[in-house]
């Protein structure tokens, strides 16, 4: 049953998320696209875009939206999807909430402990790999278009990717601005011109 699976999946995602919203994207992408096949890479990219331009933690936004989409894609009515959305957000919050309550008093005293620092350093290094893998897995015909079906979309996508990557790396340009601009490019190229 999808609701139990959704709950369990997001419970796991919550407790294994170290290193911020991007790391959580990597976990969610892996679980909902690769493992469970609840949505395509293209749909996942749409969810990430929507989550970047609305308020709130990215992890919560993606969990909510992914919960909604997974249930819709499984063939349920929107009212069930709303339940799925709340369920996914609740699940992703639950275990970290309990952990924070149980250990924060203890950890507050040990935050400068060298062992905690070493483990965190290893996790930080690994999380970089996690995020890189998520980006690599998202490069697919779902997100870039396929060269054989539509060479124009393929090359426009490559150009948008390269420009956004370089601009974001060099100037840390706001993701919101880049998403809005690329949406405008999409509108002009794929709706007005084609």
């Amino acid at each position: 049953m999808i609701f139990w699976r959704l709950f369990y999946t997001f419970l796991k995602i919550g407790i294994f998320n170290f290193g911020g919203g991007m790391a959580m994207l990597a976990l969610i992408q892996n679980e909902v696209v690769e493992v469970n096949g609840w949505m395509t890479a293209g749909e996942f990219a749409d969810i990430v875009a929507a989550s970047q331009v609305t308020p709130g933690p990215i992890g919560i936004n993606v969990a909510t939206y992914a919960g909604y989409t997974s249930v819709i894609n499984a063939g349920y009515e929107p009212s069930f999807a709303i339940f799925g959305a709340f369920l996914a957000s609740f699940a992703v919050l639950l275990l970290p909430f309990i952990t924070m309550l149980l250990v924060s008093r203890y950890l507050m005293r040990h935050k400068d402990n060298p062992m905690v620092k070493t483990v965190m350093h290893f996790l930080k290094l690994t999380v970089i790999g996690l995020i890189a893998a998520a980006a690599l897995l998202l490069i697919s015909p779902d997100t870039f278009g396929s060269f054989s079906d539509s060479p124009l979309q393929f090359w426009v996508s490559i150009a948008l990717f390269v420009v956004a990557f370089l601009v974001s790396l060099k100037w840390k340009t706001s993701p919101i601005l880049l998403i809005v601009l690329s949406g405008a490019v999409g509108f002009v190229v794929y709706y007005l011109i084609m």
Binding site: A45, T54, I60, V119, F122, L123
Partner: protein, 183 residues
Amino acid sequence: MVSLWQLFWSFFKIGTFTIGGGYAMIPLMEKELVDRHRWLTAEEFMDILTLSQTMPGIFAANMATHVGWRLRGFSGAAVAVIGNVLMPILIILAMAAGLHYLQGNAVVEAVFKGVRPVVVALIAAPVFRMARAAEISRYNFWIPIVAALLIWLLGVSPIWIILIAGVGGYLYGKYFERKEVNP
């Protein structure tokens, strides 16, 4: 004593008025918790920030849990987290329903065709920034690369990779790291 309503309202504002993820909330959190209400000193705020980043889960929700717990115990923690995520959940849900309703609409499709490759770029770019921040060196650069290849090519679950890294870090700290500072 801080009222639960006040705690809820503060975190509601923090959650509702920041676009761009948990880290974008830091300045508003500091203003609200340290400057405005004086619930925390600047130093306590920094300590809680570090703790929330260290613990698993969503960073902003971890902040809310700890601050709420500190001020009003369990109910304070619950109220602060709910305040923090309530509006974002409702807004993204409205967006999900709206976009689903518009599925197949030519304009929406065109817009997302432009956005998708940029989303991939936005996930790829922080990899390089984070590598610098994590003090990557010629001794440890293989760790993120092996992790990425295991997930990308062999389909290993990131959860296993996290578990292995945690246990590996613990063993390294216990048996190898007596004098040096970093792996």
